[in-house]
């Protein structure tokens, strides 16, 4: 209660000309930002605009390449002691512990006999405050809670007392698995929290929520802040425009529109379908079920027990490290793994065919290396991705499934790959292509937009515009 006027007014966190580079990628490119008590900052932008990096710089998770981060209000040196709390998008609870025990992990001061009772009371209080009527027991093990309940617990831990007052709480897509009623409770709590002098950074793809709760909105694009104004100065349309698409003048020539397509070759119960020679796009915001739909389709079509000489489907991974690259191998071996069963003689690898295949695809797709026997990790990310394309396209499979394959790929490579996809489609291959980049999806013949794990729109021909896709991905209705 003894705070001077100066301290009250001082920003909780101040970023000056902060930059963060990951290799050649500028995730953050000169960002200035101050957050003061009482503010609720809505943070919006496309996937890869730099939101997560910004948040991680604020909470001390990553050190900036350049620039300064300070916490003037508390004078603390580290984010944790400055009262900065983060609620992460991926669930970061310990699933084997109870709700109260998870609080103990972040509240080291809970000690001695009776800490359990104190923890139970503290988390209960926080849950009651944020989500009245939540019905979550403090003694329940986290792994028996539903995803929504886990998210509620994480948020409650973010706002909990924890021995020192929370000054700034960062919420990264906090409502992604909450239903509307619960989300509304959270909104109400954020408003109360900010009125009481706290501050919040709120990241959401639900524009309605941003408008409902934010006092100020920050729009990011390509690692830069492109707009930073009070919330009432934005309109919904203005906000969508500010997030913008990358190239406004892109004329999407979709090849010969009249190209005749073959019979239907893919059909899933979910409603996803594709015809022979068609390029089908999957769009919508990241993590809304597109990747899962594709994985299910691929795993359901192929077998873990049998490899046929004629594979039905091949997969191009976008998350290269997790799903694609075999890191110990050469480029050549990575490129040929999917054609081995087609070309083998007596169960032995035909190395001549393998070498010819590698040389062919090195030329066709332009893999930049002087020797295909170099380790695959010696390539840049974009060229590794080309290897994955080569792996899939080299096989004779009639259907190619692509799970956001252009992540971190430079523009030149993209153009090469687009051309190749068009050529392959013209010769009768079918592509199912999930992309987080709307511009890319607009090149497809047909697009399915996903929201909350379901198909929310199917667009073709003239309907296939960036605006329509954005509309279908964001919930534009009442928040």
């Amino acid at each position: 209660m003894q705070q001077s006027a100066f301290e009250q007014d001082a920003p909780i966190v101040a970023l000056t000309d902060v930059a963060k580079h990951f290799g050649a990628v500028r995730a953050l490119d000169g960002v200035d930002l101050e957050i003061r008590p009482g503010e609720c900052l809505g943070l919006v932008g496309h996937n890869g605009a730099g939101k997560s990096t910004l948040v991680n710089v604020v909470n001390g998770g990553v050190a900036p390449t350049a620039g300064a981060v300070a916490f003037p209000a508390s004078g603390a040196a580290a984010a944790l002691s400055a009262g900065v709390r983060s609620v992460f998008q991926e669930l970061s609870l310990c699933p084997n512990l109870t709700v109260a025990e998870n609080l103990r992990i972040s509240h080291a001061a809970l000690k001695g006999p009776g800490w359990r009772r104190a923890a139970r009371a503290e988390i209960g209080q926080s849950l009651d405050a944020v989500f009245p009527g939540h019905g979550i027991e403090a003694d329940a093990t986290v792994d028996i809670l539903s995803i929504a309940e886990r998210q509620m617990v994480e948020i409650a831990i973010g706002f909990a007392d924890r021995g020192a007052e929370a000054r700034l709480v960062i919420l990264d897509e906090p409502t992604s698995s909450l239903d509307a009623g619960i989300a509304e409770q959270l909104m109400a709590h954020i408003r109360r929290f900010c009125e009481g002098g706290g501050a919040v950074i709120f990241i959401s793809h639900m524009l309605g929520e941003i408008f409902a709760v934010a006092s100020r909105i920050l729009v990011m694009k390509d690692g830069k802040v492109v707009a930073d104004r009070a919330a009432p100065d934005f309109t919904r349309q203005g906000l969508v425009d500010a997030m913008g698409h990358v190239a406004g003048d892109a004329t999407h020539e979709r090849g010969d529109q009249t190209r005749s397509l073959g019979e239907e070759v893919v059909h899933t119960p979910q409603g996803l379908s594709a015809r022979r020679g068609e390029v089908v796009g999957l769009s919508g915001l990241a993590g809304h079920g597109q990747a899962r739909a594709l994985a299910q389709l691929y795993l359901g079509t192929t077998s873990s027990w049998r490899a046929t000489g004629r594979p039905q489907m091949v997969f191009v991974a976008g998350d290269r490290t997790r799903d694609g690259i075999l890191p110990l191998w050469s480029i050549l071996r990575n490129a040929s793994i999917s054609i081995l069963s087609e070309t083998a003689k007596w169960g032995l690898v035909d190395r001549e065919v393998e070498t010819r295949n590698a040389e062919k695809w090195k030329r066709r797709i332009g893999i930049r290396t002087d020797d295909m026997n170099n380790p695959v990790l010696s390539l840049s990310g974009g060229n590794q991705q080309k290897v994955l394309f080569a792996r899939a396209l080299a096989s004779s499979a009639p259907v190619v499934v692509m799970d956001d394959p252009m992540r971190g790929v430079d523009v030149g490579t993209k153009q090469d790959v687009y051309a190749m996809i068009r050529a392959e489609a013209a010769s009768g291959r079918t592509f199912l292509w999930y992309s987080t980049e709307t511009e890319e999806v607009c090149q497809c013949d047909r697009v399915f937009v996903f929201r909350n794990g379901r198909i929310s729109a199917e667009l073709t021909g003239a309907e296939l515009t960036e605006e329509r896709i954005l509309e279908a991905s964001f919930e534009m209705q009442e928040a």
Partner: protein, 311 residues
Amino acid sequence: MGQFLSRHRILLPVFSLAVLLAATFYMQPRAMSYFGINLLFNLAVPIALATVAQMMIMMVNDIDLSLGTFVSLVACVTATFLNDSPLLGVLILAALILTYAGMGAVIHALDLPAIVVTLGMSFVWGGLALFVLPSPGGTSPGWLRALMTVKPPLMPMAVVASILIALVTHFLIIRSGIGTVLRGVGGNARSVARAGWSVVRLKALAYGLSGLFGVLSGMALVGLTTSADANIALRYTLLSIAGVILGGGEFIGGKVSPVGAVIGALTLALAASFLSFMRLSPDWQIGAQGAILILVLTARLIFARRENATG
């Protein structure tokens, strides 16, 4: 039902032990006495302690293949140094515990595969044991012998000690704050590190606790057998892993239950006695133990499936 079972994972080991105990009493009603039970669970105490030691390592997602040789080494030290010059003996045992803690820190800091490091350490422990006691022998310290053969009223020593071990470790790992954080390392080490903890220190602590219980196991074993040899506890490595799993623990995810582990160890000890009562040919006793293990693990799988379905 599924929800209930998955919330009370401890029921499965309790149930397994109860069934096995009932079957034993049915086969051999005379076992249902103070001395009978004492005989049935004769060697359960050191096995229970070793199982708890293994549990500490599995709690942080590692596995210890050196535990059996470590317990053997401790037994050799106990039957020689601790008996002949107690102070030196205590110092050696303390140094062993610290080595265990160091091993945990090194494994985490250098990101080494625990399975290989502990495999190497098993040679080291085994060699040291041969060094300490080249041929079977030594003598248990008198006080230790007296402690292990004390005859408390109502319940035999083995049962009292098992309950005590279960209570102490339950308090240490489940109830206490630091135990909670240790289990958190197994559940989600990243989130523990994010909250400001040093995971290296936590791993060292888990390994140190494992060393402590390993030392207690070796001492208890010597107290029962009165002498030691370098190979006395080699099977404890596998027994302890089986005990943790029987008790409802898992290899990853920090899901361990000290009470379950102790019950798992008792089940293993009892299984051997039960099979001898069954007048099963001695040829098949080991195999039947394996079969029991597979059977209980299959039951555990049903629990796990239910959990997935409800979660």
